[in-house]
Symmetry: D2
Subunit: 337 residues, 4 copies
C-alpha cells in the first residue's frame, strides 16, 4: 500500500501513520518530496488493506500495490487451469463451444436445439430453468421441470449441460442436475450465492457483471475459490457503456487482460453482449482470435417465438455456418474446436 | 409499442407483424414513409411488450411507448406516497434524516453514534449487521448480534432503525428486528431477494444499483410492490461513471426525475456516493435543495478505526453542523426537518 | 511518481529504473516487498512525468503523486479567485446568474429575452453567434451579425455578455465583442483554441467536456492560464453516463471537488445537463446549495420555435420564479444574488 | 419522427402538433392508445428533425425513425467503398496495415521504424508532426519539420503516409504533404476542422471520439462528406468506460455495426485503445476476425525513449511476428494482407 499524505500534513500526522503501520507489524518507508510525503507500507497484505487509510488525519489517498485477490491470480498459480465439465475440457488447446436456447421453454424446443448444436459440433448444451428478469411481468423460467428436460437432453444427445442458479436456496437443486453451474451477470456480486456455489462439487461459470471492473470480477471468483471450489470459468459478456447500437459493449480486451492476471479459463458470450443476431458471428470470431478458451452462444429453433432474448438467438443453420468459421480461426492460431 | 421496419422490409414482413399483433388482440397502425414503414401497436401492454419483436423478420427495432412498470408510476397513483417507519414519516413536508454507522461494530460504537445523531435531530438510526463486501477477506458484519444491539439502541434512544438484508434466507430475521429493511445497491437486481422483502410487513428502502438506470430501478421497486408490500422508499446513492475523483457520481437529477415518474418518496445518500468525508455536507444540501424527502448519512465516533467505509463517515460534531445547515435549506424551500 | 515493478522484475530492471531517474536528477526510494518492488521518484515533476515509465522493462505501472497542472491548483494559489466580467464579479460572496437564449436568432428574440432576464435579476446575458452542431444539417448560428446584436443588447440593457468561440480563426472577432468568451463542451480539449483564448484580454468560461474527467478539465484550464490569461471560470454542465432519462448527468460533486483542488470560480449549467425544462429549477437550487459561484440558464421567449435546444429553455416567467427561489437558497448559505 | 404525447395531453395539444407538421408539409398519423397518444410524422426528414418537438406543449418525447446522416449510410450507397491512399487501397479484399511511430521525433527514429514496417509488410506509414496533448507541458510535435521527414521517408521506402491535423489553420499544410489526413479522437467533433478537411483533395481517416456514439461518429463523417470529400475511412480506437485495466475499451462490435450502417471502410487501432504493448497482438487479430478493413499500429524502435505513448508501442520484431499472425487470420476469412 502506498499512502500519499496531504500537502498540509504535519509531522504528527506522518508519525501517526507510521505508528499505525507498526501496530499491525508492517514497515513504513517514508519518502518526503517537496510537495507531498509518500509512505510505502510493506507487510501483511490483508492487515494493511483493511485499515481505512483515507479516514486517517492527513492522508490524501491510499493506492494499493497488490491486488485484493490471491488464489485466482497468476501470482498464485502460474500455469493455465483446465476444467473438466462432464468430460469436456475447458481451457487448454481446444476452443469449447457451449450452445443452446437462452431459456428452456418446452421439450420440443430444447431437443430441437440440442440436436442442431450437437450436429454442428458444440460440446456443451445451455438452457436455463430459472431466469432473472428485469421486469416482474416477464417469463421467469420453468423451474425444476426445466432441469429435468435438460437432464433428458443430456442422455439423448450425450452433451453435458450448463444452467443458471439465481437463488441460494436453489443451489443444491441446480447442482444436482447440471454439469456446470452458471452465475449470471446480475448475480456476480451476490456474495451469499457465490459462497453457496463455492461449496458445490460442480464447476462454476462466472459471468462478468455488466458493470463490474475486471478486478471486481476476479474478487468474485475469489469468493468461490476460497470456499473450496477451484473449478471456475470466467465468461466475458459485455459491459454497460454509453453506446446504444448494441445492448452492451463486448470488452474484447478483457480476454488478454484476464489471461495475464489469472490462470482461469476465459470464454466469450457474443449473444448477450451484442444483443443482435447479426453480431453473433463477427463477435465469436473476434473472441477466438483474441485468445478465448470458448464461446457460449444462444441458438433457438424459432427465435421470433422465444420467451427470452429472441433478438439475439441465431438459427441452427446460422450456427452450423458459424462453427465452420470458428474452426478456421482456431486453426489459424494453432487451436482446434 | 412502435415497431420500425427495416428499409428492405417486404409487404409480407409488414403483414406478418400486423398478423402477430392481431393474434394477441392488439391493433396495428401502419405508417408508410418514403424510407421506412412504422407500425404503432395499440392494446394490452404486457402482451405486446413480451413478444421478441426484434427477432421478427423485417423488424429493425421496437420502441416501447409505455413504461414496463405500473404500480410505482405516477400514472397509477398521482399523489405523493408517505411511508411510516416506526412512527416516523418519510415523504411529505418533513425532510427525514437517517444517520449512524455503516456497520455495527460494538455496543459502545453504536450507542455513541446513536446518542450523537439523536441529539443532532436525526429521527431514524442506521447500522448494518450483514455487509456485502467486494473482497471475501473484508469484515462481513456481526450478524444477528448486530440486530440485537440495534434493537437495544432503539429502546434506549427511541429511534426506529434501518438494517440491510443481503440473503433471502435472512429476510424474516432482519424484518423481525428492523423498522425499515434496506436493499443495498449490489442487490437491486437480486430478484429473489426483492420478492422476499415484498412479502414482509415492514417498509423497504431500495437503493439504486450503482449501475442501474432509473427505469431498471423502478422495475425493481415494482417487484416489491407487486408482492404486496407498497411501502417502498427509493434511495439515490451515486452511479458508476468514468470520473475517479469521487467513488461514484451522485445523480442529483434522479431526484426530480423520480418525482415526475413515480409517487414513491426519494432520499439521497451523500456518504456512499462521494466516498469522501468532505463531500458529505455539500451533497446533503444539494439533495435537499433538489427536492429529496430525506438523507441517509454515515456517522461514526472514530472513522479511522471503522471496519467498513471509514473514509466517508463524518464525526458527530460534523453531523451536528450539517443538520443545522440542512435545516436552513429546508426552510428556504418551505420544508422542515 | 511511484513506479510499481512487475513481480518478475530483476535486479537489473530495478537498477535501470534507478539509473534513469538519476539521469534526470531525481532521487529513487526503493521499497522491496515480498511480492513487488516499489520505487518512489522524488525530484522535478515535469521531468519525471514525461518519461514513458510503463514502456520501461520490468515496470508494471506508474502512479503519479502530483497533479500534472500547477497554476490552476490550490497548491499554487490558496485563496479563491474572483473574476471581473464587464464589471460583474464571478466568485466571492455573490451567486452570479448568466441567462439568455442558447443561440441568437433575431433582434426581437434576443431583446425580449434580455429584457426579461434583466428584470428578474440576472447580471450577464448569454446568446451564441457560432454554434457547434452534431449534425451538419442543423442551424449553425448568425455569425458576426449575432455578435452585433449582442453588443446592441448590452447597451440597451446594461448587461455584459458571454458568447462561444468554436474556431481559432474567430477568436479575436469574438473577443472584440464579448465580455466573456465561452469554450463549449465539445472544444474543451481543442488545444489550439485553448491557446488562442489564452492570449486574449477577456475572461474565459471553460465548460467541462461532457466526457472529461475533472483532471482533464483542470489541464485544459492550465492551457489557457499558461498562455497568460488568468481569468478562467469553470462551468459544470453534465457528463455522459448510461442514464437516458436526462441528456447528461449533472456531476454535482464536481462543485465541491473543484473548490478543493482549484482556486478558480465554478458555475453550473442546469439547462444543458438535464436537457429538460422541468429539471432546470431543481438543478439550479442544487448547484447553489452545493457551493457554486453562479448559474448559466437558457431562457427563451418562445421555446417551441427555438432553433437550438428548445427542449431545455425556460420561459421568462419561469425564470423569474427560479430567481426568487435561488435567492432564498443563497440566503440560507449566507450568500446573495 | 414519432411524437409521444404526455398522458395529460389535451385535444388542443394534439391538434397543435398536427398543425405544426402540416405547416412544414408533413403528414401526421395519429394513434390513440389508452394511456398515450402517438403521432407519426411522415415527410421531409430535415424539416421534421429540426423542430424542437420536446419543447412543444403536451409532448413527452420525440423518437427519430431515420438517422440524421445521409450520404455515409448504406441507404445512400449500398456497396462497400474502396479508398485509394497514394496507390494503396483501403477497403475491399485486402486488409491494409498502417504502422509507424506515434510521433515523429527524429530522422533516425522515423527511418528505422519505416524500414522495419516496410520489411514486415505494412503498406502505409504513420507518424505525427502535430500532437494534441492533454497536458500543456508535454511534447507537442515537430511541426512542418516532421512533415518534411515523413515526405523523405515516403521517397526512401515507397510508403504513402498518414499524419494528423489538429488546427484548421494547418489543414492545407498537412494536406500538401500527407497522403491521408488524420482527424484524431479529440477532434472528431471539431466541426470547423471537419469542414476544412472536407474541402481537401486528400482522403481522411476519421478516428472515433473516445466518448462518441457510433451515430455521432457517422454525423462527423457526414460533415466531411457533405463538403465534397467522399474519401473517408473510419477508425475505431476504443471508448471511455469504467474499466481501468485498459486505457480505453476497444469497441469491437463497432466494426460489424458500421459495416451494416455505412458503406465506408473501417479500420481498428489496437495501440491507442488498449494502451499496453501486450494487448496489441490479440486486439489486432480480433479486429481482423471481426471484419475490419485494416489496422493502424504504433511501432517504435525504442519505446522506452518515446516522447509520446511509449507504453503501447511495439518493437519492430514484435510487429513482424504480429504481421505473420494477421496474415493467417486474414486467410482464414478469405482475405489477404
Amino acid at each position: 500500500m502506498i499512502i500519499v499524505m496531504e500537502r498540509g500534513a504535519t509531522r504528527a500526522d506522518i508519525d501517526h501513520v507510521v505508528q499505525r503501520l507498526s501496530d499491525i507489524g508492517a514497515e513504513a518507508h517514508v519518502s518526503e518530496g517537496q510537495l507531498r510525503t509518500v509512505i510505502g507500507a510493506v507487510g501483511d497484505r490483508s492487515a494493511i488493506q483493511q485499515l481505512p487509510w483515507e479516514a486517517v488525519p492527513g492522508v490524501e489517498r491510499a493506492v494499493p500495490v497488490l491486488k485484493p485477490y490471491k488464489f485466482v491470480s497468476r501470482d498464485h498459480h502460474a500455469t493455465d487451469t483446465v476444467i473438466d465439465v462432464g468430460g469436456v475440457p475447458v481451457g487448454g488447446e481446444v476452443v469449447t463451444v457451449i450452445a443452446g436456447p437462452c431459456a428452456v421453454e418446452s421439450r420440443e424446443q430444447l431437443f430441437s436445439a440440442a440436436a442442431a448444436i450437437k450436429e454442428a459440433g458444440a460440446t456443451i448444451l445451455r438452457g436455463d430453468a430459472f431466469k432473472p428478469r428485469t421486469s416482474p411481468y416477464s417469463f421467469q423460467g420453468l423451474g425444476e421441470k426445466g432441469l429435468e428436460l435438460l437432464a433428458e437432453a443430456r442422455e439423448e444427445f450425450e452433451l453435458p449441460f450448463i444452467a443458471e442458479v439465481v437463488d441460494p436456496r436453489h443451489t443444491e437443486l441446480v447442482a444436482s442436475y447440471a454439469d456446470l453451474i452458471r452465475i449470471g451477470t446480475r448475480n456476480m456480486a451476490n456474495f451469499p450465492l457465490l459462497a453457496e456455489v463455492g461449496r458445490q462439487p460442480k464447476p462454476v461459470l462466472l459471468k462478468r457483471g455488466f458493470t463490474a471492473t475486471i478486478e471486481e470480477w476476479l474478487n468474485a471468483a475469489e469468493y468461490i475459490y476460497k470456499e473450496g471450489n477451484h473449478a471456475v470459468i470466467l465468461c466475458e459478456r459485455g459491459i454497460r457503456t454509453f453506446e446504444t447500437q448494441t445492448r452492451n459493449t463486448l470488452d474484447i480486451s478483457a480476454v488478454p487482460v484476464l489471461k495475464s492476471l489469472s490462470h482461469l479459463p476465459v470464454i466469450v458470450d457474443p449473444s448477450h453482449s451484442g444483443g443482435r443476431r447479426r453480431l453473433v458471428t463477427p463477435l465469436s470470431l473476434a473472441g477466438v482470435a483474441a485468445g478465448a478458451d470458448g464461446l457460449m452462444i444462444d441458438v433457438h429453433p424459432a427465435p421470433e417465438t422465444a420467451l427470452v432474448d429472441g433478438a439475439q438467438a441465431i438459427l441452427p443453420d446460422e450456427f452450423a455456418a458459424l462453427m465452420e468459421q470458428v474452426g478456421r480461426i482456431a486453426t489459424a492460431i494453432d487451436r482446434k474446436i
